[in-house]
Amino acid sequence: MFYREAGDFKTSYSDDSQTFPIKFDRYRYYVVLLVAFAVVPFIINDYWVNAVFLPFLIYAIAAIGLNILVGYCGQVSLGTGGFMAVGAYACYKLMTSFPEISIIIHVILAGGITAGVGVLFGLPSLRIKGFYLAVATLAAQFFLVWLFNRVPWFYNYSASGQISAPERTVLGVPVTGAETQPWAGYLICLVFVFACAIIARNLTRGMAGRKWMAIRDMDIAAEIIGVNPLKAKLSAFAVSSFFIGISGALFFAVYLGAVEVGEVFGITKSFLVLFMVIIGGLGSIFGSFAGAAFLVLLPVLLKNVLVGAMGWPTDLAAHLEFMIVGALIILFLIAEPHGLAQLWRVAKEKLRLWPFPH
């Protein structure tokens, strides 16, 4: 009834192939953008930004990045934590070496550097597949963490081996460091998420994305129809690492402010982002957001309900949280192996026919 194509006429090809061809969908998208850009910044406080919005937005970028590699190109990667560390350390080195250049440029450059590193570690994907590739990227994870711990140049020879973000401003407003206003940190991340999602969406439905999907579905067949596996796989690694690098840079500079590579960018981070992609839905930009929201928001929500509202002991709540999140993940994967994105698609399909299914 609300959600239908009837009466929604298109007169050009570009209208027909837009991201949200259904009018209701499109308006919903505009409303979400409007709320995110024009309403949320005015009402959020420190807690909402640091506990909910920043992690959600930044993990969403990482999940989009990994989704391009795993979901669209079919190359399993366990090196996400390591690549995020590259982004963070690149951003730190750039921030401290060229303090007069805008942080936005540093974050983008950090993404570029990570893309280069990603391509390097993507080279084995030309010879090995599946689990074996996963193990090769696992090596990247451990190597990169070891490197940033081992070589003092990366952390500017600080005694503790930590990197901490100095204050940097955008248009005179601090976005890193302790003086950052909640809305400033939120907006800078939102802009990056918005840009990354649009770029990813348009890459994946264009020529590049089709090549990646061809490789994913059957690489020999793809090669026969003229897809160059070298270019397709390495470009997937580059684009994916670019996004992951941006998320790492923001994670360090805007969200945490001080980072220790072994703890923050360890193997658990790689798994967390991979779970986001799997739960959200492989090969879906919306799925990346849904997965990030699920794994970031659910623990915070559970904690607030169990400890805040019901007054349970914190350790009991923390253990229960693991069990509930774990059980939900299993449940989801059994009930809907294609993730939250597929649930969303099914819901939309049902809505289109509602209230007269047949």
Binding site: D46, Y47, N50, A51, P55, N149, A159, S160, G161, Q162, S164, P166, E167, G177, A178, E179, Y255, L256, G257, A258, E260, G262, E263, V264, G266, V300, K303, N304, V307, G311, W312, P313, T314, D315, L316, A317, A318, H319, F322
Partner: protein, 426 residues
Amino acid sequence: MKYKLATAALAAVVAAGPAMADLAFSVLSYRTGPYASNGIPLADGQVDYYTLINERDGGINGQKIKVVECETGYNTEKGVECYESTKGEGVLVYNPYSTGMAYQLIPKVTADGIPLHTLGYGRTSAKNGKVFRNVFNYPANYWDGASHAISHILDVNGGDISGKKVALVYHNSAYGKEPIRTLEELAKKHGYELSLLPVDHPGQEQKSQWLQIRREKPDYVLMWGWGVMNQVAIQEAANIRFPMENFIGIWWSGSENDVKPAGDAANGYKALALHNLGSDYPLYDDLQKYVVDAGKASGAGDGVGSVLYNRGLYTAMLSVEAAKTAMEIHGTSEITPAMMRDGMEALVMNEEKMTALGLPNFGPEFEVSCENHGGNGYGAVSQWDAAAGEFKLVTEYVQSDQEVVQPLIDEDSAAFAAENGIESGC
């Protein structure tokens, strides 16, 4: 668990009462994860002391204490979430019990004007109160600890350790890396050879490090470990039959939980101490009466008197004393975090005060001042007696080598001030 639920229910009832003017103290605990074995007694010690003050004295000068506990799992991301979610409740002081988290919180607490107390951990150069206005690390810090360990080795060797080999087994994080600079400076002064053996989080895998120790045969091994890493290291040392009396841990690597898994083989293991051990103090009788026997103990109540329980209790005691000092200075019992900061800066701990509290000779005497937020750097060495099942102090409290430590603190805090554009105060 029943006790816990009962306490929680009680806490909820108490909190639901006229809670407006309660003094909020945070307990950022980690009762889960690979560091839980150490985190549980620490958190219990703090919570029990606050409960005792509420039950026995009716609070601090009539103001009830509200304990705001938040589970961090020793994870900095959760720690940030905890800090942001609890600071709105007017928490007077934060004790994160994690060096990584302390680094994260230093800029935040400075911006928010809330004091941070890192007792024997955190950023060492925070001792310089001129730069770190809101951060306190009394009564001693890591660099003091490094100096204590080396002076103990000097004592044992009659004052000459040139040519000796000392290995440092450390948690590969900000925490474990802290003492390296000091140990290097001390190596220049005393002429020993230092080798570094990092262990990655969480520290369950240490075979290669101990293989290296077996090969290089250092005369002494120092350890900066935490959580499960401690237990594994002591077990590995026992496996290669490293002489335990030459194995010295920092005060975070010297609790019963760390040595018990290795059984008798751990006998003779040494660890530094910031405060006294055991439960042979008048205060513990009150604790038994008002908290444990009354069924209000946090946790199972079996940790009372253990090293880390005492540390938690000591932290809570220092916070309560600072709050009392703040009340005196400002003449009000409804203090704010800013007043609490003034109280911490004017805190005086002497024998008289500790005796009055029922903790005679429990910790070193010190006075906090605007310039010195770190106390005087006194520490002792304790040794594990496996047969008796307890740590015993084997030395007096000695001061660290201020000639070496102080210049390093000045240098590091000056660098921090320059990096962040802080003008030094006082």
